[in-house]
Amino acid sequence: MVEETPWQQALRYANRANPYPFYEELRRTPVARQPDGTYVVSTYQEIVTLLHDPRVSSDIRKLPVPVAAPAEGSAEAEPITEAVISLEPNIITQDPPEHDRDRRMMMPHFVGPPHSPHLISDLEPDIRRIVDGLLDHMQGKTRIDAVDEFAYPLPVTVICKVLGVPPDDEPRFHSWIETALDALDFGPEAASEEMQNRLAGGRRAVEEFEQFAAELLDRYAQQPGPGMLSAMVNEDGPEGGMSKGVLVSNALLLIFAGHETTVNLIAHSVLTLLRHPDALEKLRHRPELIVPGVEELLRFESSVQFWHTRSAMEDIHIAGTTIPKGAPIFLAYGSANRDPKRFADPDELDLERRDNQHLGFSQGIHFCFGAPLARLEVQVAVGEFVRRMQNPRLVEDPPPYRHNQIFRGPRHVLVDIDGIRD
């Protein structure tokens, strides 16, 4: 048995709650070739460099599938990306010029400027109402699950409203997303029988999710309705519209990424603040710190730990290594955000951290499309949680984690409380 690389160890489920010691080891080789030929980049400066390098592709179709012969001892698993991501490209897996054109088409229906600059900020009253409702609902309880009762319901309600997805369909797409996420594994456990079984289920779930989105878009094509999806179907800009396949793929991306990452960020924020009572106390006394605070929480526990669809279109020399043409590149944002060469005392939580240009939303042309909405949701949710919870205590540390390595987050965060303030 060959010894596992720090990256492979970081991906093991047993290390999901704390991959950071493995990241630290990983950063000793900023650009580290893995046995399967993937190059994992784990340091801040190198990731930023590659995010801006036009010789790096994000297009999954340009990823050569058989990268290298499987190293001895590693199993010949089916490539996950092939299995689960069978869709047309969406903006996160496209290169310019298609990426730029499609993102330009989507942008006016979301953040809006210059056409509707208040689209996001106008959601704040709704977000506050939802958060108030969720917290009011916990009145009288002494133990809550900050994931199921708080972190999950807010973003999913908001994204349904923004996109125009019927809230009644939530249980269905929730289950597809969970199934697909649980099926995705980039680590040494991917070859296990259990993961191979999950993979089949994941593929089915994606197909059903795709069918659901296609039907929804068809309905909006016949009868326009509220929200972004209807606008994307019906309102062609000066550059025309997207093909149906690309529309469906982007719709899936928006429904999925529009809440899943925010759920993890809220859950991790609660967990992190309960682990740092001084920071929690500081935030209670200085609520305005929620704005820089959310940036620090994005750095501290990044909702997207790494991204896996990039590859080198040419030989790229970086950090003393050459990433050969055709090699897949994984950018480990979660590690870069703890890189001591970029962030002083990276393992310390500092809500007032200066110059906090974290990679929690990535950088460059694929910078998180939903960032303005996510920031607003998390600022309101975590701000109110801190203000209203009386004497919150963590029941279980570490809490149980979800399986997925990219979208890393706790499955439950049980919190004991004395009550809820008004």
């Binding site: 801006h52 036009p54 290169d95 010029p97 080198a312 279109m313 040419e314």
Partner: protein, 467 residues
Amino acid sequence: MTVPATVAELVREFRANGRIVIVGASLAGLRAAEALREEGFTGSLTIIGDEPHEPYDRPPLSKQVLKGWVAADHTKLPRLREVDAQWRLGVAATGLDRAARQVRTADGEQIPYDRLLIATGTRARQWPNPDEAALDGVCTLRSRDDAAQLQKALAAPPSRVLVIGAGFIGSEVASVCRELDLPVTVVERGSAPLVGALGGVIGEIAAEMQRDHGVDLRCGLGVSSLEGDAGGHVRRAHLSDGTIVDADVVVASLGSIRNVEWLEGAGLASGFWGVGCDAGGRAFDINGVVTDSIWVAGDVARAPHVLYEYQFLAMEHWDNAVLGAEAAAHNMVNLEPHYHPHLLLPGFWSGQFGVNIKSVGVPPFGDEIVFTQGSVKERHFAAAYGRRGRIVAAVTFDHGKWLEYYGKLIEQSGPFPPPPPGWDQPGDMKPIPAEFPQPGVPTAIPDVVLTGHDPSERRAEFRSRRR
């Protein structure tokens, strides 16, 4: 006491009780004041500014303010911290006595300093004929008051606006006019808009962009004279080809003049291109000897730049004002070897005709250009400038997110042409001449300019082996 201990004591004493005067109350002056306090300077701080306003931000003046989105007086710069300074606003500095270490002001005061920061920036070049310049409706655009006046004039609305000079300010004004659906004529002496800053190849694209947006663009022409009506309001302009343009608002965007007149006789290396200083902001005297008590920052500073053959570089850019001020402030209250250099890769942005234009490096330092990404036809592209096989600058139209890549290549003296992208390659990737105009066309003076090793004035008397 040992020498180092004595020196350390002097620095401590200066930080606690020294007197610093900053001349210039705009972006560089304010950020320097904040940086000085941040550095722990607790002595007296005086900030002198000729405008009556508190420091404000200029980039919005030619954009959001002109469009009427933001009032001119809502552009105050955010304060990063308390500065606890004596503000002398609305009073210009008129002279510097280095022997007595005093700044003279327009109201006759002599303000003493131990250390001085010069951050007087630039002003708009006025229409050269003073009678014509005094006509109602003839404007320039540099200050908040200029912007308020021009915004009012555009809101009237005028029957036609004439913009003289198609540099960045002139082009942005023309863009706002078209957004407001105002007829606008742009007269440019050079071959195309933006040629001074970006060269003729990009200038041609900028020209097409203007014409596509309905600008009546006339290049290779000058304005001979302006004519007013009986009420003293401008009505028409006579162009050098004999044609006449009827316009009731005229914007003279003829570039800027560095505010150095008040330094006349002070014996500093000041002149047309600003005040010479080292890369740490310490002013040079007229003989090229570095001073110990005077620093320079912002638009008025020119310093040797390591990336550009140590030529003196003058940068009229926002980040140069901020970062130059911070470096100068740090160096004012520290001693060697703790000086910080101000080594900035120049960069700027402009918004016009719906396109975001950004650049890094010094385009006029290059003599060739190559399109590297995107589509010129759709005006989403990146291009690199090169000189002798080295990349020296880059420009993007709606492609600003890639600028970081080019910036890094420039910093590392990367190859020209740069390595091609893996996707979205422009049709033609052959380097071509960048077509920068010969120096001498005032409207074509770029806002980042290499001024050679020479001072622009030679007032120092050269006497070798003097005993």
